[in-house]
Point group: C3
Chain length 217, copies 3
Amino acid sequence: MEHDAWPLVLDLAGVFFFAVSGSLMAAQKNFDIVGSLFLGSLTGLGGGVIRDLVLGRFPNAFAEPVYLAPPVAAAVVVFFLLPAVVKLRRTLLLFDAAGLALFCTTGTITALTLGANPISGALLGTTTAIGGGLLRDTVANVRPQLFDRHDIYAVPALLGAGLVAFLWQVGAYTPASGGAVAVVVFALRVLSLRFRWRVPFAAVVAHREGRATPPAD
Amino acid sequence: MEHDAWPLVLDLAGVFFFAVSGSLMAAQKNFDIVGSLFLGSLTGLGGGVIRDLVLGRFPNAFAEPVYLAPPVAAAVVVFFLLPAVVKLRRTLLLFDAAGLALFCTTGTITALTLGANPISGALLGTTTAIGGGLLRDTVANVRPQLFDRHDIYAVPALLGAGLVAFLWQVGAYTPASGGAVAVVVFALRVLSLRFRWRVPFAAVVAHREGRATPPAD
Amino acid sequence: MEHDAWPLVLDLAGVFFFAVSGSLMAAQKNFDIVGSLFLGSLTGLGGGVIRDLVLGRFPNAFAEPVYLAPPVAAAVVVFFLLPAVVKLRRTLLLFDAAGLALFCTTGTITALTLGANPISGALLGTTTAIGGGLLRDTVANVRPQLFDRHDIYAVPALLGAGLVAFLWQVGAYTPASGGAVAVVVFALRVLSLRFRWRVPFAAVVAHREGRATPPAD
């Protein structure tokens, strides 16, 4: 039973972290508490809904009322507990990184459990991890964090999802090894923010035309 | 037969109202008539398509050609009949409110009829009601009306969807009681616009940092 | 076998053309190579994923790893081979037109093969053709090319999808006739760009209020 409960607990934790990042974005954009709840839900549950639609099952977010608890908790936390948080952007990034780490693990496992092959599983895990944040940024009309060239975002998620699929394929996936992958993904993401690890521009032409200073986004 | 036809008639009316709001947005943004037809279709049919995808059935919008009639009618109405309408924004809001009221009712009933439990049904009804408008605003690159803090938008939809699910659960749902719910939702939405009913900000921090005047969006 | 391979080859070519348009957009917006790969994938595969979700099958983009090759190739091409391309916008439009032409054909055939009626098939083909570009523009936060009033975009796709559905219905669809439709769609789109063919505004009111010069978008 404990073996079955772990994925749910981690999945709900991922929903919460992403939902906080959505509710913080709502605060940044001066949305109201309903906007906070909805943008948090979209961020926390959107990636999983896309994964479940691709897998052809009734999405957890709609089927299991327990999935509504994390976004509600996130909106409450952002509303009541963060009046002193000035650096919203930094906090948002940390919560987003925690969601990314958990979802690339749980998303991949969910897809593999439902019969996806390792490559599809890793892709769906990555989609689960990056889908919610992409929906958040698209709906809130901001430059997608996913495409930001100041740091790496999708690379840790792809790496984590691929690692989980590999562990599953060779029979070495356990909650402990999955948790270790999530820790590595979180660490890579946070270190990339701190040390501004980058990947090259999308095109050499863009680099040549590039401004001396990055856009403020 | 009449008992079966009512939901379809109301659903098509909802598609028409939302499609008009989409075509009016297209007029505001200087899109062409094809943009008007597509943005109207996306607004009128998008929420229902998401609902049907979640429910795992072939979406009405693609399966039943009759669902294409309201967006075509909406584009024609906006093109020919509204040259004198100066206050596009106010008209758009009224049509949007009518679509909201009808869709939170018909969307919930559709989900319940297809076997969703009351909570899933209310969530899917709300998704049907707010999905099209959110797609419209996201694609047209404007601040989502859903998150606007000058009035309430999702609260009436949630309330209406929950009420319909409750009536269904206790066996009291009839076309008449469903219609009454839709009228209440429409009234709540319009009154919230007129009297600028609001819900609190997304965060206390946003409130403290808040500007004296709301953003112009 | 060759008969079966043609749709796949054309579909992969369509993915490549749209993916190049996505990666070029990423270069325009100063995204990094990961952003280039993801925006290219979203543009190249997004329309087909929506089509497959509506049709209720496991989307090709996730099921068949071969569909990942064109976006990778597109990102590499944009990164290495285009340093001298100054007129990114014009090149982007040509690749986009090629993707449009191929997808309105292959998307319609895919839907018809899976049992859709002619009208649903034409709609899903059009959705396949315009979905990826709409996702690209929405995520990249630019005015959707689809709604641009300087040229025609959706009309050739609708025409091509309708023509393919008609040919299928009367038993005259062959790879050759399908290819001819794609060529016509491509020609119509490119000619509309060159000669600035337009369709009317979304509303007469917008026309009267219209600015003397079109917006720069």
